[in-house]
Symmetry: C2
Subunit: 326 residues, 2 copies
């Protein structure tokens, strides 16, 4: 397993990411779109999720593919970003075909960033326009850190952000991840800058500090945020052919990457979830061992993406937390 | 957070553990019972679970408490251990009261240990008797390692086993875990004896080797077992008052301990799951921060219990894998 050429989720061929942000609002939107509809699954482990169109991702539900996925700031108001994306897809003629109409399938999830110092006194919900702008900006290269859905993100200790990473497996398949890191938990060990994700780090992609302690198993984490102020939301992607059920399982395996990169994860006050998508362009070499390998890769890539999101955060005036690299 | 006096799940007052094993069968059964019925939740993350009576644990289902929980070897045949436990409870007059009858509520889960070198050519299913024997042996002190449901357990590299650990939080609440470790994944880093769970270790309870690498994020795990040969099943317990919904969330949080202690966890071929029970003898100091603390403690204690199970495995003739301490 090695990092792909961009070390971004867009190393999965056919995927594009669009980011939009509003620095006064201290929030933004990230959109994933592909050249063609993607098979998709989801796994929700956090106790406080904010979602849209996730029910249809269950393996038994009719629709098999999504047109785009949205990660957004703005808590429940950010779910409106999907409206802007759907409108853009409508103009593009994209969507689930029902007779003469097309219904864009755009699941989304949000992080809570309403108490991050931004100006939230808007008269009109800004997220539909941010969603549309993110869709229009979709490309294969994009910036990490204080961008898109990670614009206003915070964590236990360091400024959060938008992270991404990729891996090319020995079998030639690619797995990528993108994540908005806004966790209640900590991505680093105690008072150090050592990322919990360090065992999975490739090529010093988030500073190369390793993880060698000292560990203190007696430590009990403190809640530095208030109720509902958190959430880490992610997408993992692969080019391997996988159906909704297999992708549900891939999303589940990827949650382990969050558990390893953020301590604690999946708390009652986080809406932590993982979407998994497949572009379906490459066959599965082995029906038993390949999903096992892909699951490990998804967990590894998501852990790395989480660390890279915090590692890449940049300073903006009014920041409530230090950036990792300060 | 410190380990409780026994460093066992039975540090949660009122709980007892019974173990029974058959060395020719290379399998066994572990039973958790309490002085009174326990509130219970469950979270299933593995792709190949084997369970009984888990549906009734959903928060919306009528029954609120269980009389006992069973962890068993034997794959699907081991689910019969619950029959022996139910019969024993019937004799004790225990069970959900419906008019003049009592219906023992005994959820259970199994690991796959049918290809571990034991004699599986039984004419009559041995698990009901093992379940009954485990119930009759229930006590507050018990041995770890190659005992109970961990008797015939294997992992990626080392002999598996039965593990347990406990923690007393700064707020005075206790959290304990018991686990049968039979994972497809590895509990140690690469070719070293360093446990992945080391960051959570207390008092050198599993050797004190730490975790300092070298890490190699490029490694892809191999499947050393065949399809369906794995599974790690656990119970976490607390004395804090928690209902089924809160315990479902506690079980979910505890899964992060498995993710951190076993790489990879929650694969398509593991039936990984966590039960969570409450004896309900102590009030919750704070409705927001205490469940957050308990979730972290549950993950930490489960990670430690997993390492302790492998650390405590003992040699028996015909072992297919080395024990960690060999």
């Amino acid at each position: 397993m090695r990092a792909g050429p961009r070390n971004l989720i867009t190393d999965v061929s056919g995927l594009r990411i669009g980011n939009a942000r509003d620095d006064d609002l201290r929030s933004g939107v990230t959109v994933l779109i592909a050249d063609a509809p993607m098979a998709c699954g989801v796994n929700v482990m956090g106790g406080a999720p904010g979602t849209r169109e996730t029910e249809l991702l269950a393996p038994d539900k009719m629709v098999q593919c999504v047109d785009a996925l949205v990660l957004s700031g703005g808590s429940t108001f950010g779910l409106a970003a999907c409206d802007g994306v759907s409108e853009g897809l409508r103009h593009m003629g994209r969507g689930f075909e029902i007779g003469p109409v097309r219904v864009p399938i755009v699941p989304g999830a949000i992080i809570f960033d309403l108490l991050n110092g931004g100006d939230k006194n808007w008269a009109q919900n800004p997220y539909p326009a941010l969603g549309r702008a993110a869709l229009d900006a979709a490309r294969t290269d994009f910036a990490l850190g204080s961008e898109g859905a990670g614009t206003g993100a915070l964590t236990h200790q360091w400024k959060g952000g938008l992270g991404s990473a990729s891996a090319v497996l020995d079998n030639g398949l690619t797995v990528g991840a993108i994540v908005a890191v806004n966790a209640l938990g900590s991505v680093t060990l105690g008072d150090t800058r050592q990322f919990w994700a360090a065992p999975w780090e490739l090529d010093r992609e988030f500073g190369g500090l390793g993880l060698d302690g000292p560990f203190d198993g007696t430590l009990e984490p403190r809640m530095t945020k208030r109720l509902g102020e958190a959430t880490t939301i992610a997408i993992v992607a692969t080019d391997a052919v996988m159906d909704k059920a297999a992708l549900t399982r891939l999303a589940t395996a990827a949650q382990d990457g969050m558990a390893r990169a953020i301590v604690p994860s999946h708390t009652p006050h986080d809406g932590d979830l993982v979407f998994a998508v497949s572009t379906g362009t490459k066959p599965m070499p082995d029906p038993l061992s390949t999903p096992f390998q892909l699951g490990h890769a998804a967990a590894s890539v998501l852990a790395r993406a989480i660390a890279r999101g915090v590692y890449s955060a940049t300073s903006r005036s009014g920041d409530l937390q230090p950036r990792w690299s300060a």
